[in-house]
């Protein structure tokens, strides 16, 4: 009887050990990817911040109310650009993004441009219209790819396929915390309570025309930086998840070892008792 349970415990230990090897390996992979991902993220930040500032200054000076990128329309249909991961096992990383989309969308019909395998699968299951279902791999998404995507998104917006363009991604705060961001890309919202500037900026040809030309570039840069930000978040979320999984596995193994030794001891004691009992007869 004792022999059978010892064998079972031994098998459990083995299976937990092999799981631990996997989680440990994934943790190491994530750690090594993290450095590059963070570097890429840091490099993409200045552009997003500086171009945003320049665009907002021009938006504030727009007098024409009919600039396509600025004028809000009645929202009949939205488009979400959703950036998620290629794989799971990253804690709540993917689920949090999807939750944010569902919470923001409410009852308005929407279509999605999913980036990352998990996002494609998720929205395909939901039966939402996908603008593109070929980008499963977020890690190496290049700047020029982001430009082409943005161009298509803007064309759709101008055609009136959707009246609002919203970006949902995960922002890297620190190794321990990543936060889902929901940001409206189009129409561009005029900055509120901006201090009035008494300097007059000359826009050539005009603020409106400049926006027409510069907004696509700005959005592409924004998309690229969100992709880098999300990937850094994904990798660090995975690292954390795998780190705690490895720790849990370690604890389980030491618990099982204890149980195994007790069972072994019990079996030996029983055997001795049986031998002694046999000799006494």
């Amino acid at each position: 009887m004792a022999g059978a349970s010892m064998k079972a415990i031994k098998l459990r230990i083995k299976s937990v050990e092999s799981t631990m090897q996997i989680t440990k390996a994934m943790q190491l992979v994530a750690t090594s990817k993290l450095r590059r991902a963070k570097e890429r993220m840091e490099n993409s930040k200045p552009y997003a911040a500086i171009s945003r500032e320049a665009i907002m200054a021009a938006v504030a000076q727009c007098v024409d109310p009919q600039v396509p990128f600025v004028t809000p329309r009645e929202v009949k249909n939205r488009c979400y650009v959703v950036i998620a991961g290629e794989r799971g096992l990253a804690g709540g990383y993917n689920a949090n993004v999807f939750k944010a989309v569902a919470a923001h969308a409410e009852d308005t019909p929407y279509c999605v441009l999913p980036l990352g395998r998990k996002a494609i699968d998720k929205f395909q299951r939901l039966g939402v219209t996908l603008l593109d279902d070929t980008i499963g791999h977020v890690e190496g998404l290049s700047v020029s790819r982001c430009y082409r995507l943005t161009q298509e998104l803007i064309e759709g917006y101008k055609r009136g396929d959707y009246d609002e363009l919203v970006l949902v991604y995960t922002s890297f705060r620190s190794m321990m915390s990543q936060e889902v961001q929901v940001e409206q890309l189009l129409p561009i919202q005029k900055p509120e309570n901006q201090p009035p500037r008494n300097v007059v900026t000359i826009y050539e040809p005009s603020p409106e025309e400049m926006l027409e030309k510069a907004v696509p570039d700005y959005l592409a840069g924004k998309l690229y930086s969100a992709v880098c930000d999300s990937f850094a978040s994904e990798v660090s979320a995975r690292r954390n998840a795998m780190d705690s999984a490895t720790k849990n596995a370690g604890e389980m193994i030491s618990g099982l070892r204890l149980k195994y030794n007790r069972a072994r001891q019990g079996a030996i004691t029983q055997e001795i008792t049986e031998i002694v009992a046999g000799a006494e007869q």
Binding site: S44, P46, I50, S51, A58, I202, E204, P205, Y224
Partner: protein, 134 residues
Amino acid sequence: MSTFHLQIVTPDRMVFDGEAQKIILRTVNGDVCILPHHIDFAIPLGIGQAYVTDENGETRQAACNSGMLSVSGNEVRVIPVTFEWADEIDLERARRAGEAAEERMKSMDHQDRDYVMAEAKLKRALTRINTKEM
């Protein structure tokens, strides 16, 4: 000589962040030259060569592609899509890209959207080649 603070930033990196004496850029309205204490100014950029004169008076050449220029106070920001110094340009690659674009243009209608894109590609390639070879 007086200088201004110049930042050149592309989506994937900060190319230049420091003091400069002068910058010449190709905009949608032709070439402009920005000197210190320029009036506040913003304009979209075209595809063309850029010349940056740093605080030591040394001029460097680069191939600059689209985006915008923004001058605010004595802060000059160049926000292009791509920006490559002459010594970073891969001449072989630019030549190949140019030839491929030309090839594509031959088989296309002038009104086509792809034609315009191929034309821009050719222009970028030629700018890179010119920047490198000058």
